[in-house]
Amino acid sequence: MGRQPLSLLSADPESAESAKVHLDDEQLRALYETLTLTRVVDDTCARLHRDGRVGFFVPSLPAAASSAAAAIALDDDDWLFPSFRDAAAYLARGGRIDDFVAQLLAAAGDPLKGRQLPGHGSLPAGKFVAPSGAAGTQIQHAAGVALAMQLRGEAQVALAIFGPSAVVQGAFHTGLNAAVQHQAPAIFLCRTSGAEAPPIAQRGVGYGLETELVDGTDCLAVANAVAVARTRAVAGGGPTLIEAVAGAAELEQDAAGRLRGFVEHRGLWDAEREEAFVRRCLDRVLDALEAVENAGPMGPESLLDDVWAEQPWMLEEQAARLKEGDDV
């Protein structure tokens, strides 16, 4: 294909201003705040992991730029099917730190009752669906929800985020096929290293989708691509595949810094705000940890709930036995 990933943010903030930025000031500030909060949360999780208090932890920072940008570029009523690296999207869609930390540690207040691996949050109010451990299945769900929106005449979109390992799964093939067949308002956002051959965006062409190739560490480029795809999808123009190239680690590290240069240039942020906001994030995370510690671990009482709408006799019996075991 020979295309270079589209980038908007460079050392010179003026250059991004010359392109049309699809986020308003409020969204830009929220985006930068999400990245900062995600970094604090990630640092804390990494520390807990090193200390052995969290058994399973997948850093979300390397994916935070594209994750937060996609989440913020969507409408509140759009649906988001995340990968397991999308803490930033979870936070951007209104996820609470307390819930995130409780879920991380399977603590008493965990909204998911200790069922899911750390970082696999769920947020119905934010139309953010708990990821499973299967690679790529969410691609098909986004196609399904997009089809439902289309059948119901709702002007919304469904977006799935996934990595290159999902691309070789069947759901990538069937999901893209289904979305194209129905011209459903779906957006498929694939984070890649840029080294995949042939490039992922190129494969979208074969399915008959619109494709975009963007710098995945450039929040504005990702947000713009999602916003454009969203407008097209809602207008009946069908689904889009966006390849967000994450590229070199140092670029990832710098994703927030690049955005900061831009929001400062816009007059939305400064050193004073930065200091106060980072301190507030730290306080919130530490408060959440303290709350979780006070609440203690999730008990086994609900271990057998929520399998069926009503507990069938087998589970009633098993629950009774589980309870007896507790009493011994």
Partner: protein, 322 residues
């Protein structure tokens, strides 16, 4: 009024439920203009249009995953897998997604998909159009598994499935599709309740779906030989009607379990285990199974593969005379 076949009864119930609940959508490969490979969705496209009757590509992973998405959004998808044998490529979506959404989201999300799965041998379909995969379905927590044996139950159970909040695998015994029984009715058959098809005090025969007619025939033959069989049609495999099973074994003390699926690790082994655990004080003979063989379903000699009246009657006599 003429009697409805199973295929017609399912069609009738689908149509009636679609009028009743506009969230219900039907999808699958050729369910639209063709009306489904077995004609079960005939006329629905004309009646409800292509926003409610949706032809999908022939890829079961895509079909089940799409149904999951539709259900997440609040619709009530009824997805047709053309043959149970094709469900395997949809199994990841079925096991990892459809079945777990309620549990893994702690009840935040539900997934009320009805997966219609024509199953079973006896139509000359060979090994890829004849399988009975119920044991696989029944090992998945969160899925309700249904297998009706006649039109009345098929329609009534489908109504329950469509009005429930959980994913249901609705196994349709395809070699009985053209059998008549049902009359037009609005009966709702509750999930999880068995039906006593015949009463007798000597031996309990337990079966479901496609093997109900042959089991009843064997019971008739045994009766002529002086053995009176209680015939239990489970109708729902998960959760099965344990009270009905234990009530019958308390009466007869002897049991023959009939299923056309392969024998080892089969669904009826769960019933045998339940009888061993809860019915041991009543048992006066070993529990016998009459099943398909531990082979793929062959193209030729299907009649040898399938439990027939001879094999079932022989088992009844062994158990009764033990």
């Amino acid at each position: 009024m003429s009697e409805l076949t199973i295929a017609q009864a399912v069609n009738h119930a689908l149509r009636a439920e679609m009028f009743r609940d506009d969230r219900i959508v039907v999808l699958g490969d050729e369910v639209g203009a063709l009306g489904g490979l077995f004609g079960v969705t005939e006329g629905l496209l004309e009646e409800f249009g292509d926003r409610r009757v949706i032809d999908t590509l022939a890829a079961e992973g895509g079909l089940v995953g799409t149904a999951v998405g539709l259900a997440l959004y609040g619709l009530r998808p009824v997805a047709e897998i053309q043959f149970a044998d094709f469900v395997w490529s949809g199994f990841e979506q079925l096991v990892s997604e459809m079945a777990t959404l309620r549990y893994r989201s702690a009840g935040q999300y539900t997934c009320p998909v009805v997966l219609r799965v024509p199953y079973g041998a006896g139509v000359g379909g060979g090994m890829y159009q004849s399988q009975s995969p119920e044991a696989h379905f029944c090992q998945i927590p969160g899925i309700t598994v249904v297998a009706p044996a006649d039109g009345t139950d098929a329609a009534g159970l489908l109504r329950s499935a469509l009005r429930g909040e959980d994913p249901v695998v609705f196994m349709e015994p395809k070699r009985l599709y053209r059998e008549g029984r049902a009359s037009m009715s609005d009966e709702v058959v509750p999930l999880g309740s068995a039906r006593v098809r015949r009463e007798g005090a000597d031996v309990t025969l337990v079966t479901y779906g496609s093997t109900v007619p042959v089991t009843l025939e064997a019971a008739q033959l045994a009766s002529a030989r002086g053995i009176q069989a209680d015939v239990l049609d489970l109708r729902t495999l998960v959760p099965f009607d344990i009270a009905a099973l234990l009530r019958s074994i308390a009466k007869t003390g002897r049991a023959v379990l009939v299923s056309e699926a392969p024998r080892s690790g089969g669904y009826v082994a769960e019933l045998a285990a339940t009888l061993a655990e809860r019915g041991i004080m009543h048992l006066e003979a070993p529990v016998e199974r009459v099943t398909g063989f531990d082979t793929p379903v062959p193209y030729a000699h299907e009649d040898k593969y399938l439990p027939d009246v001879g094999r079932i009657t022989a088992a009844i006599e062994r158990v009764a005379n033990f």
